[in-house]
């Protein structure tokens, strides 16, 4: 009954990258229905559990200015009932089958997932098919108004009533140029949420919620053939939608910007953000490793310097946030009581310069590779994570089983690569955002220090 970490064919796969082993494989079949719907099935017989994971290739990056937050609002509306499964049957039927479900939205895609006993698979697929094929005829103003209220509550809870919760929304428009798909937040502004109309909902659905813009992964104790039969029976009559074009955003350079935000917080926090790279592009893995060398563990450079040696910060986190169209890199540090953000910034810059000058040593590099690889593999212990990853690889590379290639990206990174990407991306123009307690603007980071 026990869930395997990975599929049976992974038996010989190395969990730590220091040894050679058989390639990591998560075998999956790929089929495309005549209406354009792609089905990916991964058979994992170890536990009588199944996950479905549907990606619609639309995210907040596809929104129009003035209608931000729409992709995510729409995600909520997908649970409001469809012709044959009127509200609130979606949740009730799944719960009665011992299954659970949810969805999420980011800049690039919206996903929907269910997991539960294998006995619930036909129900899961039927519910997904019904809301893809027969949602609009039951959509009305009251449903939109209700979920608009729920999303506004979500915004209050996760952003406005959350310490530092508005940092991201201040950072992104400074980092990305106006109109860039990543310059606004996924949750959207209150004004835009209020402006969303029933017609917007219908247009959005007709444009993006079509079989040819969707990929469904089924992973678990199932047989690919019978899953294919079910999916064909349930989804085939849903018509193909219009072809979608996504113009690439224009290239841009970050302008050095210093921002101060007063908030109801006890301790000031500094955000440093740079322009990065697209996911899976040439420097992406090296930037991930650089971020680990800076803050991935207690002995990482920024953590060691700021939290342990000099005791200036309560925590520090560096991360490379690469996305489909673009990317950014951030370092976020919270000061200890009595410490100003200029002091943190000075230490961060000094560590960045050191890494850019000398690069990581051999042991640091190996630790980073091993830790990233172990995290990568442990995440795949869960069928839900595996299903989402199959969908992610398919969207990016056109093949769902890209696990081994992903690992190899990290194995190939050299110390010189890390040194080079730190110099190229993290010493250049950036946005500096200080979040300080009300009235304590004197604690803010005031100037650019690195050069």
């Amino acid at each position: 009954m026990l869930r395997t970490l990975l599929a049976a064919c992974l038996l010989a796969a190395p969990i730590v990258g220091t040894a050679q082993g058989a390639p990591l494989r998560v075998p999956a079949t790929v089929d495309t229905l005549p209406n354009g719907l792609t089905l990916i099935v991964h058979e994992d017989p170890s536990v009588p559990v199944v996950t479905t994971n549907v990606w619609f290739h639309v995210g907040s990056g596809d929104e129009k200015v003035g209608r931000t937050g729409f992709a995510h609002l729409f995600e909520h509306l997908m649970f409001m009932g469809s012709k044959n499964a009127p509200y609130p049957q979606f949740d009730r039927l799944l719960e009665a089958a011992g299954a659970n479900n949810n969805g999420s939205t980011n800049g690039d895609r919206t996903n929907y997932y269910e997991s539960g006993p294998t006995s619930a698979l036909p129900l899961m697929l039927w519910l997904e098919a019904d809301r893809l094929g027969w949602l609009l005829e039951t959509m009305d103003g009251p449903k939109v108004d209700l979920q608009r209220d729920v999303v506004k509550n979500e915004r209050r809870q996760s952003y406005e009533n959350q310490p530092y919760g508005l940092a991201f929304e201040n950072l992104m428009p400074a980092l990305y140029p106006a109109g860039h798909p990543y310059s606004w937040s996924t949750i959207g502004s209150m004004t835009d949420l209020s402006a969303a109309s029933l017609e917007d909902v219908k247009d959005f659905f007709r444009t993006y919620y079509a079989p040819n813009n969707a990929t469904i992964v089924v992973a678990g104790a199932v047989k690919a053939d019978s899953v294919r039969q079910l999916v064909r029976a349930m989804f085939s009559e849903i018509p193909r939608g219009p072809a979608i074009t996504r113009p690439a955003p224009a290239p841009f350079a970050v302008r050095d910007t210093v921002i101060v935000l007063e908030d109801r917080v006890q301790l000031p926090r500094v955000y440093l953000a740079w322009h990065g790279v697209k996911e899976f592009s040439a420097d992406d893995a090296a930037l991930d490793i650089a971020a680990y060398v800076l803050s991935g563990a207690r002995n990482s450079r920024l953590t060691q310097a700021l939290v342990y040696d000099r005791e200036l910060a309560t925590n520090v986190n560096a991360f490379n946030s690469s996305k489909r169209l673009d990317g950014d890199v951030q370092v976020v540090a919270t000061a200890r009581p009595g410490v100003g953000l200029d002091t943190l910034q000075r230490v961060i810059d000094s560590e960045l310069r050191l890494l850019a000058t000398r690069g990581p040593n051999a042991r640091e590099l190996e630790q980073a590779r091993n830790a990233i690889e172990a995290q990568f593999l442990q995440r795949l212990e869960f069928s839900s994570a595996k299903a989402d990853q199959l969908n992610a690889y398919f969207y990016a590379h056109g093949t769902p089983d890209w696990f081994q290639q992903d690992l190899e990206r990290y194995r190939r990174v050299t110390a010189a690569d890390v040194q080079r990407v730190v110099r190229k991306y993290l010493l250049g123009e950036r946005v500096t955002l200080s979040v300080v307690p009300q009235g304590k603007t004197g604690l803010a980071a005031t100037r650019r220090i690195v050069q």
């Binding site: 719960e95 207690r298 002995n299 690889e373």
Partner: protein, 495 residues
């Protein structure tokens, strides 16, 4: 990434429904196979046959110096999970709230000949994850590593368990970090609501009054000697159980652990839980505690009372009742306050099961201008489930939800180990899950109503609201639910 709800419905479920068992599940009756002749889109497809489980065999051993050893051999991948639990936890904090969790946190901040830096470096180099924590009942040290690095990682784990450094410098550093984090509790309205509720429910001298992480006054008194004395009195082999799950036999596990842990000896007097000086009593009527956060975008509401002990014979009925009330996405509270009224992003209810009766709470963050209306709706639901028997449909749905979801809670080696540990902590046999499923099947609408009447705070309990009092106080007082006390943030989260 933005989720539709606060937590997936599964996550809302309480721990009581998780377990591991060696038995075949016979679940609720279900319709026939999905392979039916014609597909009729207008109605939901029948559920397939309920899957049959083959569950792991647990081999039980004991190391000569006391620790129990429970091994599940699981050969599908070259991975090993080693979870060590030591009975005790925050029940042993006594007059120093937060001590157990602080000591647990320090175990891996330097041990043996390695400082925090070197220890972390070696673990990461091996691709091993090691974590240390304490809750009310146990301290847990958990290791996950590739089989071929197990020996090297166990050497590190043995240092962490047997030879923690507790250096004065590290104790001071971690104490300062914890003080800073306690200071930040003032920024977190949800944390403030939880603290205020706990302080209201539990009188001085009750073991659940303090937060697991302690407060600033107890934290300021932490030093190396205090932590070491706690360690010696509580992290002891006679209280320890190892759970090993993965690519390893019981013999191998016994040899690997014996080699490193057989020398583990007790030293100094054993630390015992403080006597419970005061019982958590239900208050007279309803009492309101208001906490002012000027400018807050929402009000955080906690409504609750003293719940029930883990050993309650009514556990299954209580869980079914709570699933209907606020323990699932389509529960009455969430359907009403989120999906019908649009007051909140989510609302849930739950019982915390501990050796003594833990709290029952309803929690939500609601729009400021509907704070009073939200309270009205919460009490409407708390009353309705007491006054009117639940429908057959609701009852069947809740029972299926609890029983059928169990296999999915045992996906990973770490989940299996933690469920084994959970069961053992309550001295439950492996057959417990089967018994639990049977008990769920037997719950009736009358049972649900009976436990609702017995355990829900419709007439006696505490109501905590953290929000902008200038905007919400008058509306709350107009409801005349009970006497109102206003508490200062600084008195709840003391610096």
């Amino acid at each position: 990434m933005i989720h539709r709800s606060l937590a997936s419905a599964r996550l809302m479920r309480s721990r009581a429904s998780f377990a591991t068992v060696t038995a075949v599940l016979t679940l609720l009756p279900h319709a026939a196979s999905a392979q039916q002749a014609a597909f009729d889109r207008t109605r939901p497809p029948a559920l397939g046959a309920t899957p049959v489980l083959t569950v792991p065999t647990v081999t039980e051993r004991r190391l000569p110096n006391g620790p129990a050893l429970k091994v599940v051999e699981h050969r599908e991948l070259p991975l090993v999970q080693v979870t060590l639990t030591v009975a005790g936890g925050a029940r042993l904090d006594r007059d120093m709230p937060g001590l157990a969790s602080f000591a647990a946190n320090l175990l891996d901040e330097g041990a043996g000949r390695r400082d925090a830096n070197a220890l972390q470096s070696e673990l990461a180099f091996l691709g091993a994850s090691l974590s240390t924590s304490a809750n009310w009942d146990v301290t847990t040290i958990s290791l996950k590593v590739a089989k071929r690095n197990l020996d090297a990682a166990l050497d590190l784990m043995a240092d962490v368990v047997l030879r923690p450094a507790f250096s004065a410098a590290e104790v001071r550093r971690q104490r300062d970090l914890r003080l800073a984090s306690l200071m930040q509790a003032k920024d977190q309205p949800g944390t403030l609501a939880g603290l205020a509720f706990n302080q209201a429910l539990h009188p001085d001298g009750h073991p659940y009054r303090a937060a697991l992480g302690g407060d600033s006054m107890s934290t300021a008194r932490l030093d190396s000697a205090t932590v070491r004395a706690f360690y010696e009195g509580s992290i002891r082999p006679n209280r320890a159980t190892f759970y090993v799950v993965g690519d390893i036999s019981a013999d191998e596990a016994e040899a690997a652990l014996g080699k490193r842990f057989a020398a583990w000896r007790t030293s100094g007097p054993e630390r015992r839980p403080a006597p419970v000086l005061a019982a958590a009593a239900k208050p007279q009527g309803l009492q309101l505690i208001l906490v002012d956060k000027p400018g807050a975008a929402q009000s955080i509401i906690t409504v609750g009372t003293t719940g029930v002990e883990r050993t309650s014979a009514d556990l299954a009925a209580i869980e079914v009742m709570n699933t209907i009330l606020g323990g699932s996405f389509s529960s009455r509270l969430n359907s009403n306050l989120r999906e019908t009224k649009g007051y909140t992003y989510g609302i849930s209810s739950g019982f915390a099961y501990r050796p003594l009766a833990g709290p029952f709470t309803v929690s939500s963050a609601v729009r400021t201008n509907v704070t009073d209306s939200a309270l009205v709706e919460i009490f409407k639901e708390l009353t309705a489930i007491r006054d009117v028997p639940v429908s057959a449909d609701e009852l069947a749905r809740a029972k299926a939800y609890l029983a059928l979801a169990i296999p999915g809670d045992l996906e990973s080696t770490s989940q299996i180990a933690s469920e084994l540990a959970y069961l053992a902590n309550w001295n439950l046999p492996v057959s417990w899950l089967q018994e639990y499923v049977t008990r769920i099947e037997q719950v009736t609408a009358a049972d649900v109503q009976r436990v609702a009447r017995q355990f829900l705070p419709a007439q006696q309990g505490y109501i905590v609201v953290v929000g902008d009092l200038a905007k919400v106080r008058a509306g709350i007082e107009a409801l005349r639910l009970g006497p109102v006390t206003v508490r200062e943030v600084g008195a709840i989260a003391r610096e």
